[in-house]
């Protein structure tokens, strides 16, 4: 030990980035509670998330060449110690999560004031930070069990955040309760899978797991582990038949929470799914391929249509957006199931694009709810005209949700269709386009309500406050920007997809 110590080179700030990414928000949460001042809660949370965003950007730039950064927590080398491992795939998701977190907070400032009783504000921001930490942690870590820990951190705080909507509608409570039961079962399935992996290999480090599974080949234990992990994580992803927690949770949560969850929670879960499917297990395993073909493809197709139809008929705009999220998750899973580099990059890029798009839409709805009191279509009549800037942002992001060219949504769908063609899956490509038509319908209904109906004469609606408008417009502009400048999103998604498909880099450093 002492001999090792003499070689120790003092670590610099840059070396710590992978862990700082998670630690800064983790630190912010107890500080908010400890200080306990309402006026300081928001600035601390915002500073932490902004710092996390900067860090994630630096990390993303560092790994864009296809390499990875490994960080040993506690100085214990993996596979024994916990490793944080950043490569292009998770750097991209980290940037999305921290970026959305940073944008949501200014928005939350106004929306939380309006929707949540004052005495809960401090705890709300602490919870928000914990959720943020959990999501970042489960993406950043390279240790399978650590994923579970962070998953639970984010989930538990999410349940609390969702339940905060109870002020507005008591159904938030049952939504949170359902989510809790489902989430816990999903997470428990996940650790059962990990237990099996541990039994079969004796390690929990993802890279080491990949090495050992590759060396020893598979057996029933590993296959069962795969099933448990996919289904457990699939629940968090809201794969079609496991999605029932999502609509209620998104609908009844406070606006800021809906925005944040819609843009990040399922996305982080999809990343974990990707990581396990491609880095830990080898996609060339027959059982994995079969699971993809038999489980993922039919259910994602089902999601694309059934959920879209439900979205078409919804009377509540938040619920409609929630169902549209389920449909969009179908696209992402399809991209995974295609098992080629283009499909994977489609998934990754759609993950980012859809996150940005959905966040902007939920923000718009939240801003309108300030005046309308509910998100039912009838109560939003003509608000697009009364709140022109909010309405315009919603139009921009709505177009992106449809996938109109010149918006971010188009890029991901285009790449996805390309991937389908690469495999020769015509029917799937056609299905993607058809379900886009459904998106046209439900997004159109939103536009119609916002612009083509007469506003309620008694409505006191006026333009949303600046703190809401700016985040909304940042995201709406991002929707357009990513539709033209695909270097950042698609470029990094391609690097990430290549990295994932190449399998794990193993323990090599």
């Amino acid at each position: 030990m002492a001999a090792e110590e003499t070689h120790h080179v003092a670590k610099t700030f840059m070396d710590h980035l992978p862990v700082l990414q998670v630690v800064i928000p983790l630190f912010a949460a107890p500080i908010i509670v400890f200080i306990g001042k309402r006026s300081l809660a928001w600035p601390i949370a915002f500073a932490a998330s902004a710092a996390a965003f900067v860090i994630s950007c630096i990390l993303l730039i560092q790994v864009l060449d296809g390499g990875f950064i490994s960080y040993h927590v506690g100085g214990w080398a993996p596979p024994l110690g916990i490793e944080y491992r950043i490569d292009a795939a998770n750097a991209l998701v980290l940037a999305l999560i921290s970026g959305i977190g940073t944008v949501v907070l200014p928005y939350a400032y106004e929306s939380v004031k309006a929707e949540i009783p004052k005495k809960n504000h401090t705890l709300f921001y602490a919870c928000f930070m914990l959720c943020f930490t959990g999501l970042l942690g489960m993406v950043a870590t390279g240790d399978a069990f650590n994923v579970f820990v962070f998953l639970e951190i984010s989930s538990l705080s999410t349940y609390v955040l969702v339940a905060q909507g109870a002020n507005h509608n008591k159904r938030a409570l049952t939504a949170a309760y359902d989510y809790l039961i489902m989430g816990t079962i999903g997470a428990t399935f996940f650790i059962i899978g990990l237990a099996m992996l541990y039994m079969a290999t004796g390690t929990l480090n993802m890279a080491d797991l990949a090495d050992r599974i590759a060396d020893e080949g598979t057996n029933r234990t590993i296959r069962a582990a795969f099933a448990f992990i996919v289904v457990g994580m699939g629940l968090k992803v809201a794969i079609y038949p496991l999605h029932h927690w999502l609509p209620n949770a998104y609908t009844f949560a406070p606006s800021a929470v809906s925005v944040f969850l819609a843009a990040t929670a399922t996305k982080a879960a999809i990343y974990v799914l990707l990581r396990f499917m491609f880095s830990v297990f080898n996609p060339s395993f027959v059982f994995e391929e079969w699971t993809l073909y038999i489980v993922f493809i039919p259910f994602s197709l089902l999601a694309m249509f059934a959920a879209s139809f439900v979205a078409v008929f919804q009377t509540n705009i938040k619920r409609m957006l929630a169902y549209s999220s389920i449909a969009q998750i179908g696209y992402m899973l399809l991209g995974i199931a295609m098992l080629n580099a283009t499909g994977l990059s489609a998934t990754l890029v759609h993950l980012v694009n859809h996150g940005v798009t959905k966040a902007a839409l939920f923000m718009g709805v939240g801003a309108m709810m300030l005046y309308s009191g509910s998100a039912f279509f009838n109560n939003l009549n003509g608000l697009g005209r009364k709140m022109p800037l909010t309405g315009a942002a919603m139009v921009a992001s709505g177009l992106s949700l449809i996938g109109v060219p010149g918006t971010a949504g188009f890029i991901s769908k285009w790449v996805l269709v390309q991937a389908a063609f690469e495999n020769g899956w015509w029917i799937i490509a056609i299905a993607i386009m058809l379900s886009s038509l459904l998106a046209v319908i439900y997004v159109w209904r939103m536009f119609e309500v916002l612009y083509l109906t007469a506003p309620d004469p008694q409505s006191t609606a006026k333009e949303a406050p600046l703190a809401m408008l700016v985040p909304m417009w940042v995201l709406a502009i991002a929707c357009i920007w990513f539709g033209f400048d695909t270097e950042l999103t698609l470029g990094s998604a391609r690097v990430a997809a290549d990295g994932l498909l190449a399998g794990s880099a193993g323990m090599a450093h």
């Binding site: 008591k170 159904r171 039961i181 541990y198 279509f377 009838n378």
Partner: protein, 149 residues
């Protein structure tokens, strides 16, 4: 001659059988019971089954608690003759237990709030109330959409 039932296999894997029984019990309770508290209890049983699984896979026959004997000066003297259980699953499951406690208490807290809001903790009643709320919303707000549909 091959035995019809491999008793050695069944008895040798008793911890797994128990795990499966517990897990299924837990899941069954979550699925079948309408009382929200009972659901949480079922969830607890379900989680506990996983704790058992982890702990049992860390167990090594004849193994003892993985703590090195220490003399009074604090000096560690490893004794190769002592077999230790694998501590890692135990450590892991400690975390999972904490998560379980958090989940349970959060779940119960939600139930308290649900009880206050709905005046019942029977799922059937709650669903009925919620269906009525949806139907009411739909009656109030659905007309425009239904008309267009």
């Amino acid at each position: 001659m091959e035995q019809l039932i491999d008793w050695a296999f069944i008895v040798g894997h008793v911890n797994y059988w128990l795990f499966i029984v517990l897990m299924m019990t837990g899941l069954y309770v979550v699925v079948a019971r309408g009382n929200l508290v009972k659901k949480i209890v079922g969830l607890n049983i379900f989680q506990v089954s996983v704790f058992m699984l982890y702990i049992s896979i860390g167990k090594i026959t004849g193994g003892t608690a993985p703590i090195f004997p220490v003399d009074l000066t604090g000096h560690i003297e490893p004794d190769p003759s002592i077999v230790y259980s694998n501590p890692l699953p135990h450590v892991l499951i400690l975390t999972a237990i904490v998560v379980g406690i958090a989940t349970t208490s959060l779940g119960l807290a939600l139930i308290v709030r649900i009880r206050e809001a709905y005046d019942t903790i029977e799922e059937e009643d709650i669903l009925k109330i919620e269906r009525e709320m949806t139907a009411e919303d739909n009656k109030e707000y659905g007309a425009a959409m239904g008309g267009r549909a």
